[in-house]
Symmetry: C2
Subunit: 461 residues, 2 copies
C-alpha cells in the first residue's frame, strides 16, 4: 500500500511551503504542512508496520523478558531514525508472573464439571498447589457485600457488576466498575472470603477475561483474585442461583518476584531556538500479559515516535526540543513515570508541555488539556488545522497517567480518540495488532505530530 513515496517525500522536503528548514527561525505550521504530515502518516504507514513488529514480540508485562526484548528492539529502531539522541533510563519495576496453572472448575450437583474462562488479575497471590474449593456468593455492589457480611466467611466472593452500557463515554463506564477490580480482594477478605472472582470490565459480549491491577492491604489477608469472561459470569450466576451449593475449585500459581530492572526508552530532536524547553510526546510501553498490548499501549508509543519520525522526514528543525518517551510500568506501579519525573526535577529540565496517547488507536476526536483556561482557549485557535486529522475539540480535562507526574508544565495533554471499541480490547487477549486499523492509527499519529509542532513552533501564549 505504499504509493510512490520517495517522490512524495522528495516533494515534501525540497519544495515545502510551510516551514523554514533553517535552525533558529520558527516554522510556520500551515495547512500545507498539516497535509504533508497527514499524507506521510497515511500513505507510508511506517508506524503501523513498526507496531506490527513490536506486537509480534508478544505482550510486555513489566519485568518480563519480552518487555526487555521489545525495549531493545524499539531502541534499535529509534537509533536508525537518526534523532539527536536515544537513551534508556533505568527504573526498577514490580515483577509479577501469571505462572502456568490457571484453572477455575465449577462443580454443580447433577451437572458436568465446567471450566470457567478466567485469568488471574495482575498482582494476585497464588492458591496452594491443590487449589482451594469454596461456595460462591454473588455480589452486585460493596453495599450488598457489607449487608451480607456474615455470609462471606470461607466463601469465594463473585463481583458480578455489569458494565453500564448506557453511558456513551466508555471510560465513564470503566471508571464506575474498576473499583471492584482495584479493591475487591481487600473488601472480600475483610469479611473472610478465601478468594474473589470479578466479572470482566468490558464492552464486548464475549468470554475473554479482561485483567488489570489489583491492590492488597498489608493489614488484611491477601486472597487470590481472578477475572472471568462475561459469558461465564452469566453462567456462574445462573448455576449458583439454581444450586447455591455449587463450588468453584480455583488453582493459580502466579508469583510475585523481586523488583526487576527495566527502562524508560527516550529519544529526542533538539530544539533549534529553545533547546531547553521540552515538548514531550509519550505512551507507555509495558502492557498486560494477555494479547499483544497493541491498543494499550504500543500504539500510543509508536504514534508518539511517529511525531519525531515525521518531523525528521519533513526535515523540520523544531524550535523547541521534541522528546518521545516510552514509559515503563504504567499498568502496575507507574514506576517509569515516577523515575522520569524525579529525573526531570533533579536535572532542572523545563518541561514546556507533554502529550500522552493511552486510549487506543482509534479515529481522533479531541485533546483533553490539563492547564489554565486561557491556555486552552489559545490552543483552540489551532482547531481548524487539527480538524484535518479528525480532531473536533480541545477541552479542559485529565491528561495521562504517566505525564501527570511532571511538574511545572504549561499544559498536560491527553490524546482522545473515539472510545467506543477501546474496552472491547483493553487488558485482554483481544488486544492484538490485527485489531488496529491502519488509517485510524495513522490519523492519531498525525494529530499528535501536528499538536507537538504547534506547541513547539507557536508556544502556548
Amino acid at each position: 500500500m505504499k504509493i510512490n513515496l520517495l517522490f512524495l517525500m522528495l516533494l515534501c522536503c525540497l519544495n515545502h511551503p510551510g516551514y523554514s528548514g533553517e535552525p533558529g527561525i520558527p516554522n510556520k505550521v500551515t495547512t500545507a504542512l498539516a497535509d504533508s504530515v497527514i499524507t506521510i502518516a497515511l500513505t507510508e504507514l511506517t508506524g503501523y508496520d513498526l507496531l506490527g513488529e513490536i506486537c509480534k514480540i508478544g505482550p510486555r508485562l513489566s519485568g518480563s523478558e519480552q518487555s526487555i526484548k521489545a525495549i531493545m528492539f524499539a531502541k534499535q529502531k529509534m537509533e536508525l531514525m537518526g534523532f539527536d539522541s536515544v537513551w534508556l533510563q533505568k527504573t526498577m519495576v514490580p515483577h509479577w508472573e501469571r505462572g502456568n496453572v490457571e484453572q477455575a472448575l465449577l462443580t454443580t450437583r447433577g451437572r458436568k464439571n465446567y471450566k470457567l474462562s478466567i485469568a488471574a488479575l495482575g498482582g494476585s497471590v497464588a492458591t496452594s498447589k491443590s487449589g482451594l474449593s469454596a461456595e460462591v456468593v454473588e455480589i452486585s455492589s460493596y453495599d450488598e457485600l457489607k449487608a451480607r457480611a456474615t455470609e462471606i466467611k470461607g466463601k469465594i466472593v463473585f463481583y458480578n457488576v455489569p458494565f453500564d452500557h448506557s453511558l456513551v463515554n466508555t471510560f465513564a463506564g470503566y471508571g464506575i466498575a474498576v473499583r471492584y477490580r482495584s479493591t475487591g480482594a481487600i473488601e472480600a477478605a475483610r469479611y473472610g472470603a478465601v478468594a474473589a472472582i470479578l466479572r470482566s470490565i468490558t464492552t464486548r459480549n464475549d468470554n475473554t477475561p479482561h485483567v488489570g491491577m489489583i491492590r492488597y492491604d498489608t493489614t488484611i489477608t491477601k486472597i487470590p483474585y481472578v477475572a472471568i469472561g462475561i459469558q461465564d459470569a452469566e453462567l456462574l450466576s445462573q448455576r449458583i442461583k439454581s444450586d447455591p451449593q455449587s463450588k468453584v475449585n480455583l488453582k493459580l500459581n502466579c508469583k510475585i518476584n523481586p523488583d526487576a530492572e527495566s527502562y524508560n526508552l527516550i529519544c529526542e530532536i533538539k530544539g533549534s531556538r529553545y533547546p531547553n524547553e521540552i515538548v514531550v510526546v509519550s505512551g507507555h510501553f509495558d502492557s498486560w500479559d494477555q494479547g499483544e498490548g497493541a491498543h494499550d499501549d504500543a500504539a500510543g508509543c509508536v504514534q508518539s515516535l511517529e511525531a519525531l519520525s515525521i518531523i525528521k522526514k519533513l526535515n523540520i528543525k523544531p524550535s523547541r526540543t521534541i522528546r518521545c518517551i516510552f514509559y515503563m510500568n504504567e499498568e502496575n506501579g507507574v514506576r517509569g513515570a515516577r523515575t522520569y519525573a524525579d529525573y526531570a526535577q533533579a536535572a532542572s529540565e523545563i518541561h514546556y508541555a507533554a502529550i500522552e496517547s493511552d486510549r487506543g488507536a482509534f479515529t481522533p476526536r479531541g485533546f483533553s488539556v490539563d492547564s489554565d483556561s486561557l491556555t486552552i482557549v489559545y490552543m483552540q485557535k489551532w482547531l481548524p488545522l487539527l480538524k484535518r486529522t479528525g480532531i473536533e475539540w480541545i477541552s479542559k480535562g485529565g491528561s495521562g497517567v504517566d505525564i501527570s507526574f511532571l511538574k511545572n508544565t504549561r499544559a498536560l495533554i491527553g490524546y482522545v480518540p473515539d472510545d467506543q471499541r477501546y474496552f472491547d480490547y483493553h487488558h485482554s487477549a483481544n488486544d492484538v495488532f490485527s485489531e488496529v486499523n491502519p488509517r485510524e492509527f495513522a490519523l492519531g499519529s498525525s494529530a499528535i505530530t501536528l499538536l507537538a509542532l504547534l506547541i513547539s513552533e507557536e508556544g502556548l501564549d
Copy 2:
C-alpha cells in the same frame, strides 16, 4: 448484556419528564429524553440483534430469492412492533446473477498457473463457456488508456488505480477511483479490449475483491468486467512487467435475467398534530451479493427502524408522521427510490424532511444537509443535544442516493458516521455482521432517532 430493562422502560414510560404523551401536544425533546433514547438503544440492542438475524439470511441482491426472504422477514418484524401501518410497495428491479463459474487463471512463462482472487462486477456479461484468454495491459488512468489506444485491441485492460490513502475522507478517495469501475468496461471496449479487470476500490490491504455496479453503452460491445483483490492486483502487475506475454484466462457465467418483482418496505407512526407531514428515516435493503450487506446497508435500514421502535417504546406520539423506508435496489438501478418518489408525487404527500443512513454503522460524526442555509443554521441549535450521541457537526452537503429523488422537502439529510473503516468492508465478503460494533451501531440509531424527533416536534423553522 440486557440490563434490567423492563424496569428501565417502565421508568422511561411512566415517569418521563420530556414529552407530553398526549396526542396533539408537541413533545419537548429534552436532554432527559435524549438520554432515554440513548439508554434504550445502547442497552437493549434490539436493533443490533435484528441486524444479526437479517444478516443470517445472507446478502440481498435485487431480484434474488434471499432479498425477498429478507423483506418478508423484516415485514413480519415490523408488524410485531405495533406501528400504525406496515406495507410493501411493489417495484420492478434488475435481476443480475453472478452464476457459479468465476475464474481468472494467470499464466506466465516458466511459472505455475495462478488463480487470481476476482469477482464479476455487478451487471457484467459472461464469457463464453470456454472463457477467453488474452494478454493484459495495465492502465493507471483514462489518459493513459487513450494514449495507448493502439495496444488495447484483443487484450484485457487492467485498471490498476490505487486508492488515494492520503485523503482523510475515504469517500473522497472512493469518489476518485469509482469512475474506473462505472465506465471502465465501456472505455476499454471502445479500443477493442475483450475484457477488463479493476483493482478493488478499498482501504484494506487484503485480497478480497470489492464489487459494485458497472455501466455499458448500447453502442459499444459489452465486455466482461471483474474486480481483483488488491494483493493480486500487485501480483498481476509484477507478472506482466516481468513477462508481458502473461495471459489471463477468464471464465464467468453471470447472467442478466428479466426484471423481477421486488418491494420497498415501509412502516410508519402517524403524526398526532400534522399527520400529513412526513419525516422519512431510511436506508436501502438491497446489497451486493458478497458478504452479508451488514454495513451496506442493512445497518442503515435497522437504524431507521430503530427510530420508530424507540419512539414507540417511549410511548411518544410524534407531532409529524414518522415513516421508515427500506428502499430496494439502491445498488444497481435505484428503482425503489424512483418508484417511491413517483408514488409520493402522485399521492401529493408532503415529505417534510428525509434522513438516509447509508455510510456504515460507525460512531456518529455529523449530519450532511441538503437544504437552504437558514434551515441548516436553525438545525445547528440542536447540536448540544445531538452531541450526546457523538454528533459533532451539521453542515451543508449531499444527503443519500434514495432520498435525493424526493421533491419539495424542507431538508434531505445524510447521516455521517466515522468513515475510516467503511471501505474496508464496502461491497465485499468483508461486510458481515460480526464487523458491526454494537455500540457504534446503537449510537447511530440514537442520533437518527433524536434528529427525527427534533424535526417532527420542533419543525424546521
